[in-house]
């Protein structure tokens, strides 16, 4: 087979991981307290054909169960395997014989446990070599694809909620971060296009997923949490291509040290692999996250907000104190955004002075004070959106002031949606504020409950914009 044809075949098998027409669950159980039972009940939401496979049971919830996957009379696109590790190799044999396109091995007990487990993994690896079958895992939660209503995860839905369909593809090597991230996304009202848990990466790895989601029209941002690269050079190569049209956010945990021989050189001892990664990510336009919250914040801001093409920020606030803190963070190179406080143009200042009362400050930060009204906010947003010296807006629509109404959040929403410049709102407070934040977020507007996180999000939008500008200059694109 030519390499090109082989790649196409692999791609079509990979596609079966998230868009299968038929699914078999090997190790399904009618006992809802067992993993195989939980998974079978979660699989019920899948509208396509689904088959339980269990060597001991003949029926499962009124449906015929099959002793082995080969006994199923129809073609199987995806087999999900949840049997003890030592039984997995023979199940894999069955799947190969059945010409299953893709398998997910949920079971643990492989290389993550030691030498015995590694041997089992190698045995499976040699079995699937030269077949068209792809294998996700082992030791993974599997996949969750809202648009297909496909859910192979064994974490209970009332403990770990599932987000709706949306623009973020989430790829993770850690089951814990996966359920945490998705539960968080659900409670903030953000959707995901798919989740794929990589597990031990015996076969399918992050590079396969980059290829898959780069071609998925539903995915606007690819978000990855990994602990090691399957093939770093290929990863960069793929990201270079993808980041021109889709942002890629990566949390790479687990630091590695330079080898002893390399450390004999100054370059070797100073150029730690983590530093090399920083440079490599910049070159490939990858946005780097350092923890799960950053991964979450960066993915959502990039998915729901336009890039920013300059560093000049206007702060619009009704609380002077927030403005001062924000101004410090905006300009700070180390802990803040490394951005600039915009110098509002004289023309815009005149416009602001003409309509705002004398107590308001028309310098940046624009401080409308506690006497602010909804209309004042609306007017300021209009002026700064038209201001030539402004690239982005940080808004503090305080909910606690007496003359503003519930309509203020509608005004913020409108300018977020229709404004020419990216706007990041920051709303600080307790229960009442949280309710408002949820309301805005469920409509697809990222809101931050923390000044620093809001500023860093603007920095990420600028990082993205700057990268796009650089790439356009490189390719000679006039835009």
């Amino acid at each position: 087979m030519s390499p090109c044809r082989r790649r196409r075949k692999r791609f079509s098998s990979l596609n079966c991981l998230i868009h299968p027409r038929s699914v078999a669950l090997i190790g399904a159980s009618s006992n809802r307290f067992k993993i195989g039972g939980i998974m079978w009940s979660h699989l019920q939401s899948f509208p396509g054909r689904k088959y339980p496979v269990n060597i001991k049971q003949e029926t499962m919830g009124g449906v015929k169960a099959y002793a082995r996957v080969k006994d199923i009379p129809e073609k199987i696109d995806l087999a999900v395997i949840a049997v003890p590790a030592k039984s997995v190799p023979s199940v894999i044999d069955d799947c190969i014989e059945k010409r299953v396109k893709a398998v997910i091995v949920i079971s643990g007990g492989f290389s993550e446990t030691g030498e015995e487990g590694r041997k089992l993994e190698n045995e499976i690896k040699s079995k699937i070599l030269n077949t068209e079958m792809v294998l996700l895992g082992p030791n993974t939660l599997g996949v969750y694809v809202p648009r297909e209503r496909l859910d192979t995860m064994f974490v209970l839905r009332d403990k770990s909620r599932r987000p709706p369909d949306g623009p973020i593809a989430f790829i993770s090597q850690s089951g814990a971060s996966a359920s945490g991230f998705m539960d968080m996304a659900e409670s903030h009202g953000y959707g995901i296009s798919a989740f794929v848990g990589l597990g031990n990466k015996l076969d399918v790895n992050e590079n396969d997923m980059l290829e898959l989601f780069s071609k998925d029209s539903k995915t606007r941002v690819i978000c990855i949490h990994i602990e090691c690269f399957a093939e770093g050079k290929r990863f960069l190569q793929l990201c270079r291509k993808i980041t021109i049209s889709k942002p890629v956010v990566v949390l790479k945990a687990g630091r590695t040290e330079a080898g002893a021989r390399a450390a004999m050189l100054h370059t070797g001892s100073m150029a730690k692999p983590s530093l090399a990664m920083e440079g490599a990510f910049k070159q490939a336009g990858i946005i780097r996250a350092n923890d799960l919250l950053e991964l979450f914040d960066y993915s959502r801001i990039l998915a729901y907000q336009q890039p920013m093409f300059g560093p000049n920020i206007v702060v619009v606030t009704s609380g002077g104190g927030y403005g001062v803190i924000a101004a410090d963070y905006i300009e700070d190179q180390n802990v803040g955004g490394g951005l600039r406080l915009a110098e509002i143009s004289p023309d815009s200042k005149r416009k602001l002075m003409a309509r705002l009362p004398s107590f308001a400050s028309v310098d940046n930060p624009v401080d409308l004070t506690g006497n602010v009204t909804d209309e004042m906010f609306d007017y300021v947003f209009k002026v700064v959106n038209e201001d030539e010296n402004t690239d982005g807006i940080l808004a503090f629509p305080l909910l606690q002031t007496p003359y503003t109404t519930d309509n203020l959040v509608e005004i913020v929403w409108r300018w977020f949606k229709n404004g020419r410049k990216p706007m990041v709102p920051c709303i600080i407070g307790g229960l009442h504020s949280e309710e408002v934040i949820r309301r805005l977020e469920s409509r697809g507007m990222p809101v931050f409950p923390d000044i620093r996180r809001a500023v860093i999000s603007l920095r990420v939008l600028y990082e993205r914009g700057r990268y796009l500008m650089r790439m356009r200059n490189k390719t000679g694109d006039a835009r």
Binding site: G232, L265, G268, A271, A276
Partner: protein, 225 residues
């Protein structure tokens, strides 16, 4: 031409079994790739010392051996040798301490600002290039920038702009250094990395002395894979 100097390095490695390449083999290799180094004379026999007479004094005497990667740690570097008789005495003293190891006599390079430029093979991404400025301060403050090869001139300028010490390139107080020459040097290292990346684990130029109109590699080390 450039291939020959690298062949000598490979020959040395296979003859000695050493992955660490002594400086008297690295310097000619750099010269053949268009990189500026101080004028030097390699002294293997005492009679070679005579050729050092054509150098501009003061000079530096260094031991060049795979056994002493960090020469200063073994006091294998002697600065500011003012004339040939002092050089003769110093060379004799080096012979006593280091045996038959080759010696390197080099012209001193004036003042300037110390920079670092190096290649390093990264397990994940392959050959990377690193720059830094400020001599030991670059090391203490980790004020360096790294990229994966290949890189363009725009990349080098961006790397420089990431350094905290970037002000030195723009003229700080009365310091004037040659940014263009340093940029060229970094691109030449990049070309070396691309061409010999198969063999090289790392290549260090530290310090590179940057002056008003030059960037000179004063000390260089190479380690093969």
């Amino acid at each position: 031409m450039s291939g020959k100097s690298f062949q000598r390095i490979l020959n040395y490695a296979s003859a000695t079994g050493s992955k660490v390449i002594p400086e008297h083999l690295v310097k000619p290799f750099l010269v053949n790739h268009g990189i500026t180094v101080p004028s030097y004379v390699i002294v293997k026999e005492p009679s070679d010392l005579k050729r050092a007479g054509r150098l501009q004094f003061p000079v530096v005497l260094k031991v060049s051996s795979n056994r002493f990667v960090h020469k200063t740690d073994v006091e294998g570097v002697l600065l500011n040798i003012r004339d040939s008789s002092e050089l003769k005495r110093s060379a004799a003293a080096f012979r006593k301490r280091f045996g038959a190891e080759p010696l390197l006599v080099e012209e001193m390079v004036d003042g300037g600002v110390e920079a670092i430029c190096g290649l390093i093979h990264d397990e994940d991404f392959g050959m990377c290039i690193m720059i830094g400025i400020g001599g030991i301060y670059a090391e203490i403050y980790r004020d360096v920038s790294i990229r994966v090869l290949p890189i363009s001139k725009a990349d080098v300028l961006e790397m420089i702009s990431e350094l905290k010490g970037k002000k030195l390139f723009e003229g700080f107080r009365n310091i004037r250094i040659d940014k263009a020459a340093f940029t060229e040097l970094v691109l030449k290292f990049s070309a070396i990395g691309e061409k010999y990346g198969k063999h090289i684990l790392g290549l260090d130029a530290n310090p590179v002395i940057l002056g008003k109109n030059y960037a000179t590699v004063v000390d260089a080390k190479m380690i093969l894979k």
